[in-house]
Amino acid sequence: MEFLADLSAGFSTALGVENLWYCFLGVFVGTLTGVLPGIGSLAALSLLLPVSFHLPATAAVIFLAGVYYGAEYGGSITSILLNLPGTSSSAVTCLDGHPLARQGKAGVALLLTTLASFLGGFAGILALLAFAPLLAQVARHLTSADYFAIMAFALIASATVTRGSPVKGLAMVVLGLMLGCVGIDLESGVSRFTLGFYQLYDGLDLVVLAMGLFGLSEIIASVAAGRSSLLERSLPLRSMRPSRQELGRSLSPVVRGSTIGGLLGALPGVGVTIAAFLSYAVEKRVSRRPGSFGKGAIEGVCAPEAANNAAAQTAFIPTLSLGIPGSASMAILLGALMIHGIQPGPALLTEHRDVFWGLVASFWIGNLFLLVLNIPLIGLWVRLLLVPYHLLFPVVVCLICLGAFALNHSLFDVWLVLLAGCLGYGLRLLGYEPAPLLVGFVLGPLIEENFRRAMLVARGDPLLILERPVAAAFLALGVGLLAWALLSVLRSRR
C-alpha cells in the first residue's frame, strides 16, 4: 500500500498552488499553440522549453507535460476543423473528424474528442500506475525483430485502412518510407538523398511535411472546389451536444481505443501514431457499417483519440523508467528533466519519488483541466466555421509559413512546405491518400534500424524472425490484413 501513500504525496505536490498554476498554464498554452495550424506538440514544446529553465524541477516538468497533451488536443481541433493534422497521430482524426465538421457536426466531433481524450488519458494513467514496472519489463523483452514486425504490421494497417485502393495506400507508405531515408544514415554516416543540401542532413521535418501535405494541399483543393466556408453546405449548425445514440456508440470504441493505446504507448518509439492508426483499423473491422468510415463515423474519431491519449500517457513509462523517449516530444521532456539534474531511469522511481508521483498526479489534473477548459471553448471554435473561407484561408497560409519557419528559423523549411503542398495536391488529384505517407515517414528510420539490428542478430537469416512468437504473430496479422484488403478489392471489381 506504499503505492497509495506515494500517490497521495504526489497529489499533495501536484495540488500545491505553484504546480497547479503551471499545470493550468501549460495546458492552456499547449492547447492554444496546438490549435494553430502546423504548430503541433513538438513545435510548441521546442519553443517553450527555454521558458521552463527558470522554474523549479517539478513545476517545469508539469508545465511541459501540460503543454504536451494540451497541444495534442489542440492538434485534434485543427484536424477536425481544417483537416490539418498537427501531429501524425492527429492525421487519423482528420479522416472522420473533418467530414463530421463539414456536415455541421463539428461541435459533436469536438465534444466527443474531448471526452474520448479525457477517458483515454485516464485509462492511460491507470495503466501507468498499475503496470509501469510490468510494462517496462515486457518492453525490455522485446527485441528488434519484434519491433520490426509490429511496425510492419502498423504500416500495412495504415495502408489498407484508409479510403481508396490498398495498392495505392501501400505506395504511399513506401513513399513515406523513402522520404524517411533522406538524411544521414546513422549507422554508416553516409548522407542519403540529400542532394547537396546541408539542411537535409537531419532528414525532412515531420511537421513541415504534414503542414504542406495536408494543410496547403487542402487549401488549394478547397479553393478550387469553391468552398464558401468550412461548412460543406449552408447547414444550420446542429446542436453541439451529441445525441444519446451517438454517445452510446462512442463507448465501446473508447474502451477499445484506450486498451490499444495503453498497451502500445508503452513500447518505446512506437506508441502514439501506431496506436491511433491501429485503433482506427480495429474499429473499421469491428464496425457493422465499415462503409461509413471516412465519411464521418463517430467511432472513427473517438477510438483513435482515446488511443492516442492513452498512448501519450503510457509513453511516459519507457521515458521515465528506462530513459528511452517514446517520441520526439518525450525527448524534449526528458531533456528538461536532465537539465534540472533528474536522471530518468529506474533511479527516478526511487531517488526522485516526489517528482515522479507529482508528475503522475498532475497528469490527472492536467487532463481534467483540458476537459474543463475546452468544453466551453468548443462554441468558439465552431464559430470559426462560419467565417467566409476566402477570408480565412490566406491567414492560414501565412500561419503555415510562419509555423514552418519558426521550427528551425529556416527558410529552407518553408520551401519544403511549398514542395510538400504541391506534392500533396498532386496526390489528391490522382486519388492517393496522404495519411499513410505520414505514417511511413515517421516509422521509416525506426523500422530500418530495427530491421538492420534484427538481421545482424539473426546473422542474415530472415526466417529467424518468425521464431519469435510476438514477431510471428504480428507478421501473420500483417499478411492476413494485406490478403484481406487485396481480396476485397478484387471482389469489388468483378
Partner: protein, 161 residues
Amino acid sequence: MSAGIERASAARRGLAQLAGALVLGALGLVFVIEGDRYGLGELRRMGPGYVPALLGWIMLGLAVLIALSAPGGRSAESGGEETVARRPLLCVSAGVMAFVLLLPLLGLLPAVFLCALLSAFAERAVRWRSAVLVGLTAAAVAWAVFVGVLGLALPLVELPL
C-alpha cells in the same frame, strides 16, 4: 453528358493515373540505382543502400500494379479530382514564395502581408479591398501569435538599404 464526352474524360483520367504510376516507378528506379551506389552490403550487414534499394524494388512492383489497373478502372475507384486548379495552385505558391523571399528582405510584417495578399487571389471572385484587408489581418494575427505569445525573434519591418 453524352457517352462520348464521358469516355474521353475517363480516358484522360486513365492517362493521368498512368502518368502517376510512371512517376512512382521512376522514383523506385532512382532508389534502386542510388541504393546500389551507397553500398548494399548483405542482409546480415546491411549497407546504407540496402533499405533504399529494397524500397525502390517494392515501389517498382507497386507502380506496375497501379499502371495495370489504370486504364479500364472505373472512375470511382481511381478517385481524385478532375482538373488541375491552376489559379489556386499558382496564387498560394506565389504567396508562400513571397513570404520566403521577403522575410529576410523586408521583415516579418510585409512578408506576411504579401503572402496573404497573393494567396487571397486564389479565389476568383476576390476584390482588391478584401484582399488588402485579409493581408492586414494576417499580419496582425501573425504578430500577435508569433511575436506576442511565442516570442519569435524576428525583425518586424526592415528597410532595404
